[in-house]
């Protein structure tokens, strides 16, 4: 997995609340058996018109946001299904961090498995960042994972909380399965104890 350390880039404002996984990647694109290539379908129904051409009103189609690497979004981003296709699509589009007041649990987990950082901040902070994002491509926002801060183009900084283990994995690009495989003895011993205490399982 790619390491995440510090990112300075364009942030796109998406103030809508409850942006769900069906919006991020509609079901017709879940039929793939690959992880790659979903970026072109990210936000498909908002991004493209009925004839397949781009909807010029959709934020990520506007010239100043086409290279956005950060999304500043309304509350409860990523609600809905468990589809990891949602972070796959965002990552493939080029998004590396999403900022909101809250995230749906499974989407939040899925981000970390793909080198993407979801940042939870209070409403007041998100309001300021949303305004900053509205300035377009001249305003670069900075996400500093090591120091756990987001800084606006004007230099206003907000600290965010993050689980230390998740931070460690993200900063070092660590693969969860590899880490867990190192604990195989503990898993073996749990299984043999469990075979005694809960033999019906």
């Amino acid at each position: 997995m790619e390491k995440f350390e510090k990112l300075t880039g364009i942030a796109a404002p998406m103030p809508l609340v409850n942006i769900d996984t069906d919006m991020i990647i509609p079901k017709q694109f879940l039929k793939t058996i690959k992880r790659s290539g979903l970026g072109v379908h990210a936000f498909d129904e908002m991004r493209y018109l009925a004839d397949g051409t781009e909807n010029p009103d959709f934020v990520l189609n506007k010239p100043q946001y086409r290279e956005a690497q950060i999304l500043v979004a309304g509350d409860n981003f990523g609600c809905g299904s468990s589809r990891e296709h949602a972070p796959w699509a965002l990552a493939d589009f080029g998004v590396k961090a999403v900022i909101s007041t809250s995230f749906a649990d499974i989407f939040y987990n899925n981000c970390f498995k793909n080198g993407m950082l979801p940042i939870v901040l209070p409403q007041e902070a998100v309001d300021v960042l949303m305004k900053d994002a509205e300035k377009g491509s001249n305003a670069r926002m900075t996400v500093d994972l090591e120091n756990q801060t987001v800084t606006t183009s004007d230099g206003e900084s907000f600290a965010f909380e993050l689980d230390p283990f998740r931070k460690h994995c993200l900063m070092n690009g660590l693969d969860d399965i590899g880490l867990t495989m190192e604990k195989v003895t503990a898993i073996d011993s749990f299984e043999s104890q469990s075979a005694q205490s809960r033999p019906w399982v």
Partner: protein
Amino acid sequence: MSGKTLYDKIWDAHVVQQDEDGTCLLYIDRHLVHEVTSPQAFEGLRLAGRKVRAPGRTIAVPDHNVPTTLDRAKGIENEESRIQVEALDRNARDFGVHYYPVDDVRQGIVHIVGPEQGWTLPGMTVVCGDSHTATHGAFGALAHGIGTSEVEHVLATQTLIQKKSKNMKVEITGQLAPGVTAKDITLSVIGATGTAGGTGYVIEYCGEAIRSLSMEGRMTVCNMAIEGGARAGLIAPDETTFAYVQGRPHAPKGAQFEAALAWWKTLYSDDDAHWDKVVTLRGEDIAPVVTWGTSPEDVLPITAAVPAPADFKGGKVEAAQRALDYMGLKPGQKLTDIAIDTVFIGSCTNGRIEDLRAAAAILKGKKIKDGMRAMVVPGSGLVRAQAEEEGLAQIFLDAGFEWRLAGCSMCLAMNPDQLSPGERCAATSNRNFEGRQGKGGRTHLMSPAMAAAAAITGRLTDVRDLMTEPAQA
């Protein structure tokens, strides 16, 4: 020291290892797998030369892509769907996991098959690459959805890296009024707490109205815990649970059952357990409800009118306006004046036998409105067979419904069962998101009895106006 919640007890029984910062390695007893969220995980195993650690604890069934028309033996027309189902066939065979292929009578929606076959038992940890895994919480099992990377992690290690959620109690006191069902409970809770109200929590549903529900009803309640933002929903196991489990193909038998039962009976929240959040609703106050918008929190009693964006605060004002535009509704319009085109009865929320009984009780001897498209998609082949044996299928057919084969179908429209742009559907499923049932499709969520009532009148309808005897489920 305070006592433990049911969630605490199940959690503690599954911790393989705990780090200093509270990160745990949690053992997974059952891993359910379907064709949409697993191919990349199996591919990951192959690339790394890894095996499935516990194939005997892994159960696979295709459900999302499968056609539900009676001619499905001829194969899947859509190439991508077919490839995905074929990939599951191959992966199940290559890695040696339990498998119910499309042509097996036990095939169906993964969350209906698991409990039906006795794979889901009280006190277990159950995961699946599907958010509606919450369904299994009805047995007092800790069950939740995971992404594909975590599917691969569970396949390889039979564990998950987890941090514990907070404890939330949702109590439904008293009894439900006639015509009010488990679906109305779960939608009303989301209406009260919002779709992010449960974020960071595991919910335990309790109270007299929950105790009075059948296992089918409890599964409906827990199924939508995810729509309320919770990691999982739980209901403490009791005699209703034990009676449902006993005798199922993969449930313990004889002395093993007795041993299991002794442990299962300890699975309840202690009186002095600590709750981080408590929500209480009076069962008597819950009405038959429908959704009007494009979020499961957009819930109102059927007797209400469409709200105005100005009724909301913050970001929800814009979201409500967008929802009204998408749904083609005007503020102040009575919900019972909304005409519908289509009725869908099915899904992991409401595709069990009791749901079909409740719908059939309303439809018996009646016809659906002229021009209405209506379908029943049983949750599994065995539900379908039982409904045929009970005469329910004939009631649906006589009323003008299509009687389909088992699958996820129009709940998420990955197979050919889809809405057209602007088509308005009364659905017993779980999500009313934009485009969920087909691009431009408009979804109103409700109970099976309410969906049956809507099929008869051709508009959203208060089922209590059509009831000759109390609806169940």
